[in-house]
């Protein structure tokens, strides 16, 4: 057959466009659509760490329903600090900005009892008092700390999920802290797995930003 005779079958074309139309019908498709848009945007804004993290926060909020999202990152001095925070009252943001964690704090798995889950995460429960004295102000509703849990799957004030961002040799690059779900319950497992997927991508982003910053540092030197 010569190339000039080739034509697509229009009926089949219409069928395919209808079968794969971009309108999302299931919850899974809606989540995939959000992730797709995020990656598309991420490719365009890949020069700004702040913008990237804000976008990640929005994505996590849309997919998971977590209302409070904070990113902690290892700074160039090797210490860990909160960077972007969303869904917190001003006082909680200010209180978090004052906190500095050492590498030893980050590796410390014994001071605060937690439950290891998934691939990179741990859940802190309010009953274990997962904060240092004076850090009550880092919460949106400190007056609710210590309130008892009515049902086992209730997510209450003081509960939070830490997803660690790992680089080479399991060095901790930072963490994502999530708390306060819309329905007041711990999220379904597939939602949690999506947040770990997103976190794995954030780790990759931080590695790239680290490389860029080293490049810039070398150029300046």
């Amino acid at each position: 057959m010569s190339s000039g005779q080739k034509k697509k079958d229009l009926k089949q074309d219409i069928f395919l466009k209808s079968l794969y139309s971009p309108v999302s019908s299931s919850d899974e498709e809606k989540r995939l659509s959000e992730i797709d848009q995020f990656f598309t945007h991420s490719l365009r804004i890949s020069d700004s760490k702040r913008e990237e993290l804000i976008d990640v926060g929005r994505l996590i909020h849309k997919i998971s329903g977590f209302k409070e999202i904070a990113f902690g990152i290892r700074d160039e001095d090797g210490m860990y600090r909160y960077h972007e925070m969303m869904g917190f009252r001003k006082e909680a943001v200010d209180a978090r900005k004052k906190i500095v964690y050492t590498p030893r704090d980050m590796q410390d798995g014994s001071s605060f009892k937690s439950i290891r889950i998934g691939k990179f995460s741990q859940i802190h429960l309010s009953e274990f008092k997962p904060f240092k004295p004076g850090e009550e102000e880092t919460f949106n509703h400190p007056e609710l700390l210590g309130k008892s849990r009515a049902n086992p799957d209730d997510m209450i004030e003081g509960d939070y999920l830490d997803i660690f961002l790992f680089g080479k040799n399991r060095e901790i690059l930072g963490w994502i802290e999530l708390s306060g779900t819309k329905d007041g319950k711990f999220p379904p497992r597939e939602i949690f797995l999506y947040t770990e997927l997103i976190a794995s991508y954030v780790a990759l982003l931080l590695i790239d930003f680290q490389k860029d910053s080293r490049k810039i540092h070398r150029m300046i030197m």
């Binding site: 057959m1 190339s3 000039g4 080739k6 034509k7 697509k8 079958d9 009926k11 089949q12 074309d13 069928f15 395919l16 466009k17 079968l19 794969y20 971009p22 019908s25 299931s26 899974e28 498709e29 995939l32 659509s33 992730i35 797709d36 990656f39 598309t40 991420s42 490719l43 365009r44 890949s46 439950i115 889950i117 998934g118 691939k119 859940i123 429960l125 009953e127 008892s148 849990r149 009515a150 086992p152 799957d153 790992f166 080479k168 040799n169 399991r170 711990f186 379904p188 497992r189 597939e190 949690f192 797995l193 770990e196 997927l197 794995s200 991508y201 780790a203 990759l204 590695i207 790239d208």
Partner: protein, 211 residues
């Protein structure tokens, strides 16, 4: 107090059971496979060829395609296949010998296609979307003249290209999918997932080449 302790114990048990990292559905299997893939990228500097090999195998393993290939743009601007899974060594060799310029790749007179998204094109048997030189890249060329009985059939000559597009929508490469195990076109979710994989690869490749 006893009640509180009991509820706390139930909460701990519930969380450990609910959030294990073992897939319990197809959706979870895909999420976990992609999470593990990205995690490996974070842990070491992985050559692009290894990234392509890993991703080709991952798509072949978790989705329903019989043949999965990936091509990327080389420094001379030509697109060449770098990986092929599910095919015989001979077919693989034939794939690796092919090269396309950008205009050949997008030539609708040679390869008529249906766009189903900004990065996905479907090439259907009726339009004969291959040249004589490419017949040897099919695993069962004898079936190339097969007739479609239902519009959702996937025939030997049908294939899907999902493009890996960079910042300026330039094509960095593509994922090619052929043949499903149930001989039906893939479902919407499968295409959506592989499009996400292509978007992710675009970010990885763009950073690699400092785009």
């Amino acid at each position: 107090m006893v009640d509180n302790q009991e509820t706390l114990g139930q909460t701990e048990l519930l969380l450990r059971e609910r959030y294990s990292f073992i897939a319990k559905s197809k959706e979870e299997e895909i999420i976990i496979a992609i999470t593990n893939f990205i995690d490996r990228q974070s842990k070491a500097e992985i050559p692009i060829k290894t990234t392509l090999d890993e991703m080709t195998s991952l798509i072949h393993r978790i989705f329903d395609f019989q043949y999965v290939c990936m091509a990327i743009k080389d420094s001379d601007g030509k697109y060449r296949y770098k990986t092929a899974t599910g095919v015989t060594p001979e077919v693989k060799k034939n794939f690796f010998e092919i090269e396309y310029s950008l205009s050949e790749l997008l030539d609708e007179s040679l390869y008529p296609s249906s766009d189903v998204s900004d990065i996905t094109k479907m090439y259907m048997a009726e339009s004969v979307p291959y040249t004589l030189d490419e017949v040897d890249t099919y695993s069962r060329p004898i079936l190339l003249g097969q007739k479609r009985e239902s519009p959702d059939d996937m025939l030997e000559a049908d294939y899907i290209d999902i493009y890996i597009k960079g910042k300026t929508k330039n094509i960095l490469g593509f994922i090619e999918l052929t043949g499903t195990r149930n001989h039906k076109l893939p479902d919407r979710i499968t295409i959506r997932w592989i499009e996400i994989i292509a978007r992710m690869l675009a970010i990885i490749f763009s950073r690699e080449v400092g785009e």
